[in-house]
Each structure stands twice: as structure tokens, then as C-alpha cells.
Symmetry: C3
Subunit: 211 residues, 3 copies
């Protein structure tokens, strides 16, 4: 990878997302009174679980974290730091959501590109983008016996989908690939952060026939 | 596929099962107050989760829903309709169980045939039949933080097993393949519906040594 | 496999672990009032779930239990016996922990050797060892809607890790392979049993900045 190339940028943002996920996983695991290695395991599930499911579904071997050990090292280090300084991190909820939004954007773009590189239909590639960005968090909540947060009330899958749609739109118009990635990343991050700041929720589709 | 061939019939029954699963998934997700995309995700897990695990275990790629987009389209449409008209569907419990039994039969036969086509031992093929028909529902309940219904009290796995045993019995006798499939489908559907209608449960094996 | 060879010994210890896991799975499933086949399914998840995830992640097909039917037969038989004589087994907690520790040791060594045989980095091989020994129990608890026990308070992952580290240390020193396996097995079993007997727990890393 070239320094300052779009791929390098995506890799760096990916690592930011990995750190945010490892952080969120450790925090929840500590609340559940998991032990040292339990916290690390939940961090790993949260950070690389979605990408692992994507790769297994696409038959993409070896898994990305088996060849690039940075993932495991970064997650373990993050979880370690988070466990030691846990009590300091009680009020950084907003900061975590900021880095988490970067992760959502990076994970989505990576999932989309992996799907397309494997020649899947665009609809399936979009599903891979969503899967990469949310499956880790869902599995974290399943292990910790919580109802998955991302499925409940947050504009999360929607932000990922909005970015994916923009990606295909830009491809149709004929925008340069590097600009593609940057605009898609910015859109996902922007939609997610706006949702966090203004407490946006999806409206319910439910019609009421009870009257 | 020829129209009116056994394969076509199984495909159509499969789609009926997919709709029933998407329906059941959305209903549970709405009760859990999941948002629009959360409901669709749970529908997908419920409808194609079992087949996905089966294919991943057998190394059968690409996954069936990656090449035939009908699955994703049918699930999304079903979930959408179910979310809009949710309040109308409060009293259709029996109807849902009827379609769900069709799905159980179709999923089991498909799982069995896929296992056999991959040259697995009959015992493993039967496990693939059970897995295809129940793993989606189990994962749905795990995501929604519920104890899996199919493991608790219903004649569900038993109906699938009864059908699989009949399938091998018919093969040994030398019945024509098309008749095989039809009789197996009818048996699984029949056992399941009888269990629903007469509230059948498996007896506990537990001996009581306490006296 | 030669009789009395290290591989044969590991295979036998593996089966002891499989029985212990099938036992533990059935016991929890019975407490959750699962039916006959529900108990068998939870036993299977507990006993061969970890190895299945490992093999899927490493793209190692066919899965080990698809070619060696002993696994499925032993699990089903164990679950059957456990369900019939359940009330007799209320006070064998310590015995179960003994056999379970044998399973932890065997599963870890098998996972480690499979990882190394696939040419993964030692760090990834250690993760495969941990995964093989704990993922089944975690999935059992997830299905049964419990917070995973192995992540909470037990010296479990730590025992597996201690054994793996010793394995690489012995390899570096140049000890014979058969001695490797035996010493690693003994270490994992020993650490786990000592933790059970003396109620060892990992200390929390958390610093307290609240004063």
C-alpha cells in the first residue's frame, strides 16, 4: 500500500474502528464482570466478528486477521488499556460514539469492496457492507445476554445503507474511484454522527387499525 | 427447472417457508421494538440462517441466496408488509403455524438432499436436514434474547427426523425419487400439524430416583 | 493411529472431553426444560461447536465430525444416558469438572496442532486452541440464554493459554514431540484442576482513580 493512498486511508480508519469496537466490547464485558481474557474475547468478537462472518460466507480464506496480525495486537492492547484505566472512561460516551462512527464507515466501505471484488450482485455486496459493520456488535450483545443495540433504535444500518447507495450512484455517474471511497466514508460517518447528535430514530412503519 | 417437476414444487414450498420465517422473525422483532432494518435483519436470519450454516459447514459456495436473489427480495418484501400491517396480524397465529409447517417440511427435504448430494453419511445428511430447518429460528431467538422455542416443547425436530427416516426407508424399498420427496414432505408437514392441533409434546425421559 | 501413540492418547482424551461437554450441555438444557432433541442439540453445540468454528475459520473441510461418526454417536449416547438418569447426577459436580478439565486440555492441544498444521502464525494457532476449547461452551450458554460461564470467573482460557505457551517453549528447547503433547496436556489439566480446587480467580486489572 502506498502512503496517503485511499487504501491506506481506509486501512487507518479501519484500525480506528477496530479500536472503538475493542473499547466498546471491553466496556460492556467489564460491566458484565467478565474476567481479563473474557474481556479480550468480547473485544475480538466485537471488532473482527463481522468481517469474519463476511469472509466465511464469501469463502475468502485465510481470514483477514490470520494474515495481518495487527488486528489481534491492536485489539488486545486496546482491551488491556481499557481494563486498566476503566474508571477514567466513564464519561467518554460521546468520544466513543465518534470513533465508532468512523469504524461504521470504514467497515461498511471495506465490506462493500470485498463483496464487489468477489463478483457478487450489488445487492449482496450491500448486505456484506452491513454485515461487516454490525454483526460484531450483535454477537457481542448476544454473548453478553443483551438485546442488540444496533437493531433497536439507532440510525446505524441506515447510515451504512445510505453510504452504499451513494457508492453505486457515484460509480454510475463515473466519479474517480478514490473520490468514491472518500465520499462514501464521509456520508456514512456524517449520517451516523448527525443521528447521534440530534437523536434521530427511524419512524415505525406500523399502521394502526385498532380504532 | 421444469414447471410442475418435484424440484419446482420443492422450490415453491421453500419460498412459502421463507415467507413464514420472515413473517415470524418480523413479528418477534417488532415485539422487541427493533427498528425497520432490525426487523428485516431478524427476518433474514430466521429465513436463510439455517441454510447458510448448512452451506458453510459443507463448504458449499457461493451460498444459495447469493446466486438466487429471490430469497432476499421475498424476505424484505414480507418483512415490509408485515411491519406495515402488523396490527392486523394479531390473530393469525394458526395460519402462521400452517405455513411454518410447510417451511419445516421444505427446509428439511432440501437440507437432506443437499447433504446427500455432497456425499455425506446419511446420519450427517439427517443432521443437515434438522439444521436447515431449525438453526434460523434458534438464531432468531438468540438475537432477540429469548430461549429458543423449537428446543423447548414443540414437536419440531422430531417431525423433521420422522420425514428423514421415511426418506431412507423409501429409498431402500426402491420407490421413485419424485414420490420420495412428496411423501417425505407430506409426512413432516403432517406430523407437525398434528402436533400443533392436538398439542403433542415429547415425553421426558427422566427417571425419578428420589422416592 | 497406533495404539498407545500420543495421537491415540489425544483422541481418547478428546472423547473424554466430548462426553464431559455432552453431559454439561444436557444438564443445562434439562434445567431449561428443553425437550429430548433440544438436549441433544445443546450437547452437540457444547461438544463439537468449538471445533466446528475452528475448522470453518481455517477452511478445513470436511468438518471432523462429518468423517468420524464416533463424535455424533458418543454425544447422542451420553445425552440419552444423562437424560434418563438425570436425578442421579445432582451431586457429581466435582466429577464433571474433572472430566471437563481433561476435555479442556485435549481440545486445546488439538486446536493448537490443527492451527500449526495449517501453517498459521503461532499467535493464531493459540487463538485456535482457545477457540476449540471454549467456543462450544459459550454457544451453549448463548442458546440457553445464560451469560457464558467461562468468560466470567473461572481460570479456563488462562489454563489453555498456559499450556500453549509451554508447548512453544518446549518446541524451542527441542523436546521430543510426544513429550510436548503429554506435558502440555498435563499442564492445562493441572492448572484448571488447581483453579477448581482452590477457587482461583484472575485478579481485575482495574485501577481505581475515584479517590
Amino acid at each position: 500500500m502506498q502512503p496517503f493512498s485511499p487504501d491506506m486511508m481506509i486501512y487507518l480508519l479501519d484500525m480506528v474502528g477496530i479500536i472503538a469496537c475493542a473499547f466498546a466490547g471491553t466496556t460492556l464485558a467489564l460491566h458484565k464482570r467478565f474476567d481479563f481474557f473474557g474481556c479480550i474475547l468480547v473485544s475480538m468478537v466485537n471488532a473482527i466478528g463481522g468481517g469474519t462472518i463476511r469472509d466465511v460466507m464469501l469463502d475468502r480464506h485465510p481470514l483477514f486477521w490470520m494474515t495481518d496480525l495487527n488486528y489481534v495486537i491492536v485489539i488486545t492492547t486496546t482491551s488491556l488499556v481499557c481494563q486498566i484505566f476503566f474508571t477514567l472512561y466513564q464519561k467518554i460516551d460521546w468520544t466513543l460514539k465518534f470513533f465508532d462512527a468512523i469504524g461504521l464507515a470504514a467497515f461498511s466501505v471495506i465490506g462493500l469492496k470485498v463483496g464487489l471484488a468477489f463478483g457478487t450482485h450489488p445487492m449482496i455486496a450491500v448486505m456484506m457492507a452491513v454485515l461487516t459493520s454490525i454483526a460484531g456488535g450483535i454477537m457481542r450483545d448476544m454473548i453478553c445476554n443483551e438485546i442488540p443495540l444496533v437493531l433497536q433504535k439507532e440510525i446505524y444500518i441506515s447510515a451504512s445503507l445510505a453510504g452504499s447507495l451513494l457508492y453505486f450512484l457515484l460509480a454510475k455517474i463515473g466519479v474517480a474511484t478514490s473520490l468514491h471511497d472518500t465520499l462514501t466514508l464521509a456520508t456514512i460517518f456524517g449520517v451516523r454522527m448527525l443521528a447521534v447528535m440530534f437523536d434521530w430514530h427511524l419512524p415505525s412503519l406500523r399502521l394502526n387499525f385498532k380504532n
